[in-house]
Amino acid sequence: MLQVWIDITDQPLNASEVHSFLYESNGGGVCVFAGVTRLETNGKISTSLSYEAYKSMALKEIRRLADEASQRWPILRAVVLHRIGTVVVGEPSVLIGVATAHRGPAFEATRFLIDELKKSVQIWKKESFEDGSQEWVAASWQDLD
Protein backbone atom coordinates (compact mmCIF):
# COMPACT_ATOMS: atom_id res chain seq x y z
CA MET A 1 0.00 0.00 0.00
CA LEU A 2 2.61 2.54 1.12
CA GLN A 3 4.61 3.88 -1.79
CA VAL A 4 7.87 5.60 -0.97
CA TRP A 5 10.24 7.51 -3.22
CA ILE A 6 13.67 7.86 -1.66
CA ASP A 7 16.81 9.20 -3.28
CA ILE A 8 20.18 10.74 -2.53
CA THR A 9 21.39 12.51 -5.65
CA ASP A 10 23.84 15.08 -6.93
CA GLN A 11 21.17 16.44 -9.29
CA PRO A 12 18.87 19.42 -8.51
CA LEU A 13 15.69 18.39 -6.72
CA ASN A 14 12.47 18.78 -8.68
CA ALA A 15 9.53 19.98 -6.60
CA SER A 16 7.11 19.51 -9.47
CA GLU A 17 7.87 15.79 -9.71
CA VAL A 18 7.51 15.47 -5.94
CA HIS A 19 4.06 17.06 -6.03
CA SER A 20 2.94 14.91 -8.96
CA PHE A 21 4.08 11.72 -7.23
CA LEU A 22 2.14 12.67 -4.10
CA TYR A 23 -1.00 13.78 -5.98
CA GLU A 24 -1.17 10.37 -7.65
CA SER A 25 -1.96 8.84 -4.27
CA ASN A 26 -5.46 10.30 -4.65
CA GLY A 27 -5.20 11.45 -1.05
CA GLY A 28 -6.67 14.80 -0.09
CA GLY A 29 -3.81 16.25 1.93
CA VAL A 30 -0.26 16.74 0.66
CA CYS A 31 2.47 18.40 2.70
CA VAL A 32 5.93 19.11 1.25
CA PHE A 33 8.91 20.47 3.12
CA ALA A 34 11.93 21.98 1.38
CA GLY A 35 15.14 22.70 3.24
CA VAL A 36 16.82 25.52 1.35
CA THR A 37 20.33 26.95 1.60
CA ARG A 38 19.84 30.05 3.71
CA LEU A 39 21.62 33.30 2.90
CA GLU A 40 22.50 34.17 6.48
CA THR A 41 23.46 31.93 9.40
CA ASN A 42 24.51 33.40 12.74
CA GLY A 43 25.22 36.71 11.08
CA LYS A 44 27.54 35.28 8.40
CA ILE A 45 26.62 35.38 4.73
CA SER A 46 26.65 31.94 3.11
CA THR A 47 27.26 31.25 -0.55
CA SER A 48 26.55 27.53 -0.55
CA LEU A 49 26.29 24.35 1.43
CA SER A 50 28.06 21.18 0.41
CA TYR A 51 26.65 17.80 1.42
CA GLU A 52 28.36 14.45 1.69
CA ALA A 53 26.54 11.18 2.40
CA TYR A 54 27.37 7.63 3.34
CA LYS A 55 24.84 6.70 0.75
CA SER A 56 24.17 3.03 1.42
CA MET A 57 23.61 3.55 5.12
CA ALA A 58 21.75 6.85 4.67
CA LEU A 59 19.27 5.26 2.26
CA LYS A 60 18.62 2.44 4.72
CA GLU A 61 18.10 4.92 7.54
CA ILE A 62 15.69 7.03 5.48
CA ARG A 63 13.69 3.92 4.62
CA ARG A 64 13.57 3.01 8.30
CA LEU A 65 12.24 6.50 9.12
CA ALA A 66 9.60 6.22 6.40
CA ASP A 67 8.52 2.85 7.77
CA GLU A 68 8.31 4.28 11.26
CA ALA A 69 6.26 7.23 10.01
CA SER A 70 3.89 4.92 8.16
CA GLN A 71 3.29 2.98 11.36
CA ARG A 72 2.38 6.19 13.18
CA TRP A 73 0.28 7.88 10.48
CA PRO A 74 -1.97 6.59 7.65
CA ILE A 75 0.45 7.53 4.89
CA LEU A 76 -0.49 6.87 1.27
CA ARG A 77 2.75 8.07 -0.30
CA ALA A 78 5.96 9.58 1.01
CA VAL A 79 8.98 11.20 -0.61
CA VAL A 80 12.41 11.85 0.88
CA LEU A 81 15.01 13.29 -1.50
CA HIS A 82 18.37 14.64 -0.37
CA ARG A 83 20.84 16.35 -2.60
CA ILE A 84 24.60 15.91 -2.19
CA GLY A 85 27.39 18.10 -3.52
CA THR A 86 27.15 21.87 -3.68
CA VAL A 87 23.78 23.55 -3.10
CA VAL A 88 23.84 27.31 -3.59
CA VAL A 89 21.72 29.84 -1.70
CA GLY A 90 18.05 29.60 -2.69
CA GLU A 91 18.21 25.98 -3.83
CA PRO A 92 16.75 23.05 -1.86
CA SER A 93 19.02 20.42 -0.34
CA VAL A 94 16.15 18.29 0.87
CA LEU A 95 12.57 17.69 -0.26
CA ILE A 96 10.27 15.68 1.97
CA GLY A 97 6.59 15.11 1.34
CA VAL A 98 3.68 13.02 2.54
CA ALA A 99 0.22 12.37 1.12
CA THR A 100 -2.62 11.30 3.39
CA ALA A 101 -6.40 11.20 3.06
CA HIS A 102 -6.80 14.22 5.35
CA ARG A 103 -4.37 17.02 6.01
CA GLY A 104 -3.46 16.67 9.69
CA PRO A 105 -1.32 13.53 9.40
CA ALA A 106 0.40 14.88 6.27
CA PHE A 107 1.74 17.85 8.25
CA GLU A 108 2.70 15.73 11.24
CA ALA A 109 4.47 12.99 9.29
CA THR A 110 6.39 15.47 7.12
CA ARG A 111 7.57 17.30 10.22
CA PHE A 112 8.58 14.00 11.81
CA LEU A 113 10.59 12.95 8.75
CA ILE A 114 12.64 16.16 8.50
CA ASP A 115 13.23 16.29 12.27
CA GLU A 116 14.42 12.69 12.36
CA LEU A 117 16.44 12.95 9.15
CA LYS A 118 18.49 15.72 10.71
CA LYS A 119 19.20 13.59 13.76
CA SER A 120 20.09 10.23 12.30
CA VAL A 121 20.64 10.09 8.53
CA GLN A 122 24.31 9.75 7.61
CA ILE A 123 24.73 13.01 5.73
CA TRP A 124 27.09 15.86 6.58
CA LYS A 125 27.01 19.53 5.69
CA LYS A 126 29.82 22.00 5.09
CA GLU A 127 29.11 25.72 4.92
CA SER A 128 30.90 28.08 2.55
CA PHE A 129 30.84 31.76 3.43
CA GLU A 130 31.29 34.79 1.23
CA ASP A 131 34.58 35.59 2.98
CA GLY A 132 35.94 32.34 1.50
CA SER A 133 35.95 30.39 4.75
CA GLN A 134 34.43 26.92 5.00
CA GLU A 135 33.43 24.78 7.93
CA TRP A 136 31.71 21.50 8.64
CA VAL A 137 28.56 22.15 10.61
CA ALA A 138 29.13 21.12 14.19
CA ALA A 139 26.67 18.57 15.46
CA SER A 140 26.24 16.21 18.37
CA TRP A 141 24.47 12.93 18.96
CA GLN A 142 22.57 14.46 21.87
CA ASP A 143 19.52 15.04 19.74
CA LEU A 144 19.29 11.33 19.16
CA ASP A 145 17.66 10.17 22.41
Binding site: Y51, E52, A53, M57, A58, K118, I123, K125, W136
Partner: protein
Protein backbone atom coordinates in the same frame (compact mmCIF):
# COMPACT_ATOMS: atom_id res chain seq x y z
CA UNK B 1 46.32 -10.57 10.13
CA UNK B 2 42.92 -9.45 8.91
CA UNK B 3 42.25 -6.75 6.35
CA UNK B 4 39.34 -4.33 6.76
CA UNK B 5 38.14 -1.35 4.72
CA UNK B 6 37.67 1.95 6.52
CA UNK B 7 35.32 4.66 5.27
CA UNK B 8 35.74 8.27 6.35
CA UNK B 9 33.34 11.19 5.81
CA UNK B 10 33.34 14.96 6.27
CA UNK B 11 35.78 16.00 9.01
CA UNK B 12 37.30 12.52 9.21
CA UNK B 13 37.75 12.27 5.46
CA UNK B 14 39.66 15.53 5.59
CA UNK B 15 41.57 14.49 8.71
CA UNK B 16 42.76 11.27 7.08
CA UNK B 17 43.06 12.76 3.60
CA UNK B 18 41.04 9.95 2.03
CA UNK B 19 37.51 8.57 2.00
CA UNK B 20 38.56 4.93 1.92
CA UNK B 21 41.51 3.08 3.39
CA UNK B 22 42.45 -0.59 3.77
CA UNK B 23 44.21 -1.48 6.99
CA UNK B 24 45.73 -4.66 8.44
CA UNK B 25 44.72 -5.48 11.99
CA UNK B 26 45.63 -8.20 14.44
CA UNK B 27 42.97 -10.91 14.60
CA UNK B 28 40.67 -10.21 17.55
CA UNK B 29 40.96 -6.43 17.29
CA UNK B 30 37.78 -4.79 18.58
CA UNK B 31 36.07 -1.62 17.45
CA UNK B 32 37.53 0.12 20.49
CA UNK B 33 40.95 -1.19 19.54
CA UNK B 34 40.60 0.24 16.05
CA UNK B 35 39.59 3.63 17.41
CA UNK B 36 42.58 3.71 19.75
CA UNK B 37 44.89 2.74 16.90
CA UNK B 38 43.54 5.55 14.70
CA UNK B 39 43.68 8.07 17.57
CA UNK B 40 47.31 7.23 18.22
CA UNK B 41 48.13 8.05 14.62
CA UNK B 42 45.95 11.11 13.98
CA UNK B 43 45.53 14.06 16.34
CA UNK B 44 42.39 15.38 14.68
CA UNK B 45 40.73 12.01 15.06
CA UNK B 46 41.95 11.74 18.65
CA UNK B 47 40.26 15.05 19.48
CA UNK B 48 36.80 13.83 18.47
CA UNK B 49 37.10 10.07 18.96
CA UNK B 50 34.56 10.09 21.78
CA UNK B 51 31.69 11.03 19.44
CA UNK B 52 32.60 8.58 16.65
CA UNK B 53 30.27 5.64 16.07
CA UNK B 54 31.30 2.56 14.19
CA UNK B 55 29.16 0.89 11.57
CA UNK B 56 30.22 -2.49 10.23
CA UNK B 57 28.68 -3.48 6.92
CA UNK B 58 26.14 -0.63 7.23
CA UNK B 59 24.96 -1.44 10.77
CA UNK B 60 26.02 0.36 13.93
CA UNK B 61 27.92 -1.93 16.27
CA UNK B 62 29.06 -1.91 19.88
CA UNK B 63 32.71 -1.03 20.36
CA UNK B 64 33.52 -4.38 21.94
CA UNK B 65 32.70 -6.20 18.69
CA UNK B 66 35.64 -8.14 17.28
CA UNK B 67 36.29 -7.11 13.70
CA UNK B 68 36.47 -9.67 10.92
CA UNK B 69 38.51 -9.98 7.77
CA UNK B 70 36.73 -8.17 4.92
CA UNK B 71 34.61 -5.93 7.15
CA UNK B 72 33.62 -2.57 5.75
CA UNK B 73 33.88 -0.19 8.67
CA UNK B 74 32.41 3.32 8.53
CA UNK B 75 33.47 5.88 11.10
CA UNK B 76 30.41 8.04 11.65
CA UNK B 77 30.56 11.46 13.31
CA UNK B 78 27.39 13.29 14.39
CA UNK B 79 25.29 13.94 11.29
CA UNK B 80 24.24 17.36 9.99
CA UNK B 81 22.14 16.79 6.88
CA UNK B 82 18.87 18.44 5.94
Amino acid sequence: MIIVTLRFFSVLREAFGAGVAEVELDPGTTGQGLIELLAANNDEFAAIQSVVRLAVNDEYVELDLQLSDGDEIALITPVSGG
